[in-house]
Symmetry: C2
């Protein structure tokens, strides 16, 4: 192999085949992918959850992850948010001519490891190479398929009066990590992305809790935006206690320095679950017993006054309306 991605690698011809064999099949190979037909054949009995996401994060590598692991976790998590068991992924890469093959290999290896850890198979893919300047290094699309188990499954509109609002840990880590990394900032305690596959923990929850009303991962736009989406879809209100929210000291420090609100920063290993109050204790117990839920908390309640409104009860007892993020706080965060 040459040491850089060439336009030839995207031709669909022999150079493409070599790149696919030497890199993608080497790391992603499985009996379905190895067929190399125009489409892959998979078995999906019954109801299927499908989700697609494109990853454009800048920089490509950051503490706690890289564009490859993010592309796996992001889509696996989105599929799992419908209460589904993610099984298969498609991977489509857009490569910039001149990208180093070493960098590409590192990303592909990271995807392969993340997919294995998440228990999903990559069944088909696509590689395009565009001339220098037509894309910034590499963008990755993943589309995920999962099997839906229980009915009714969690959906945004199902948030109900009196439901407890839980989150599996502190917020803001991914957003602040990418930002500090990109801007070359550093803090006393280094921050690290929370990027993680949540399907294992979620499957346990789905199994043990009779009816989870909503699951949603607060990625772009952060926790505040996600809660607003849910309040909007369900036409309920949501009251969050600032006291109950976990925010790591380093994220708090970084945010106050940069004038950012951690409630609007992206997360990549967190999920909000909204469920009947009587199951909150059990759900927290399950989360806290799992590596991705050690700091799980009950952070609020669903109400019916002011449909669509999210309110934060501040630490000093005041009330602040949390609006949806209006514009862009941070581009290319995922």
């Amino acid at each position: 192999m040459t040491s850089r991605v060439l336009l030839d690698h995207g031709s669909g011809g022999r150079a493409s085949q070599r790149l696919i064999a030497d890199l993608f099949l080497k790391y992603f190979g499985n009996p379905v992918l190895d067929q190399l037909d125009d489409a892959a054949c998979i078995s999906m009995p019954g109801e299927v959850a499908v989700s697609t996401d494109t990853f454009t994060v800048d920089p490509l590598f950051f503490p706690g992850g890289d564009i490859g692991s993010l592309a796996i976790h992001g889509t696996v998590n989105d599929v799992a948010m419908l209460g589904a068991n993610p099984k298969y992924l498609t991977v489509a890469c857009i490569l910039e001519e001149g990208l180093s093959l070493e960098c590409l290999e590192q990303i592909v290896l990271s995807m392969s490891r993340s997919a294995e850890k998440a228990g999903v198979k990559i069944v088909t893919g696509d590689t395009k190479v565009v001339p220098k300047g037509a894309v910034d290094k590499i963008f990755i699309n993943t589309t995920g398929l999962g099997i839906i188990g229980k009915r009714p499954f969690p959906q945004g509109h199902r948030a109900n009066e009196g439901d407890a609002v839980l989150i599996n840990g502190p917020v803001g880590d991914h957003g602040l990590t990418v930002l500090t990394c990109r801007e070359g900032l550093s803090f006393e305690t280094p921050v690290k992305s929370d990027s993680a596959p949540l399907n294992g923990l979620l499957l346990q929850l789905i199994e043990d809790i009779p009816d989870i009303h909503v699951l949603r991962d607060p990625t772009r736009g952060g926790l505040a935006t996600t809660l607003n989406e849910i309040a909007d879809q369900s036409q309920k209100s949501c009251l969050i206690n600032e006291d109950a929210l976990a925010i790591s000291p380093e994220v708090r420090e970084g945010c106050s320095l940069l004038g950012l609100d951690p409630l609007y920063l992206a997360n990549e290993g967190k999920f909000v679950s909204i469920l009947p109050e009587e199951w909150a204790h059990k759900a927290l117990e399950i989360m806290r017993n799992h590596e991705f839920g050690r700091q799980a908390k009950l952070i609020g309640r669903i109400g019916v006054d002011n449909p669509g409104r999210v309110t934060l009860k501040t630490a000093i007892g005041g009330y602040r309306i949390l609006n949806m993020l209006e514009g862009e706080q941070l581009p290319r965060i995922c």
Copy 2:
């Protein structure tokens, strides 16, 4: 709406929601998509064909199509090449900050019309906006899901000794159209992309022909590369008659002027079918009765000597080995 795409439109916040409601839901809307959850829930009984493709074509609009129609047809066709009935698509757009919203709307409208014509529903999507310069205008990923009917389904390795090789019309139109459009060339007779959804015609073939061994669309790398892939997967040889190949006069003229070989130019509305010789006549009849198969031809035969080799019997009776495309003839063709 402002008249251009802003970074705010990719924030995941309110501006994103407006773009989604005013544009994507307006044109793509259906009960599944309208749920706006992290993943869509669809029903897929049994075996599923899945395919993914990213479209980076330059220019965005060309005679016979645009990046939107191409993104629908390309993936619908790839799913159909497994003998499956394409049902659902996901759509993920990467937009460059500053792209005109009018241009985006035109593309979304074209996708919507093409999806309707192809009989597929767009069930979930993703929109990312990246800063000016990080992507060239717009790239679109589509992932398609289809229901596999008959077993065994067509696959590259199933080409068999004595099989007939058919194609549904002339080759090279898409590749030459995009190239001339990009370079501002013009010929006496204007060329036009052959981009088309092939699933309707393919479903008829699948229904009426007992066992089609291979279906494949000769996109990137053209007919020669596709035949090489099949010869390689099946470890058979393939002999093509130049006399039998349809190439339109304008493609022939353009290619001779530019020094291009139409057998290596991309097509977006063609498919190669390889099937037992006794069914060739019936298959041609079905194709010729369909708008996308009027000029269907039997162009060659599968043999067993020289496994992996594709040979062209030229018009003057000589033999020329058709190798797989080595490098890139034309970047950003689809």
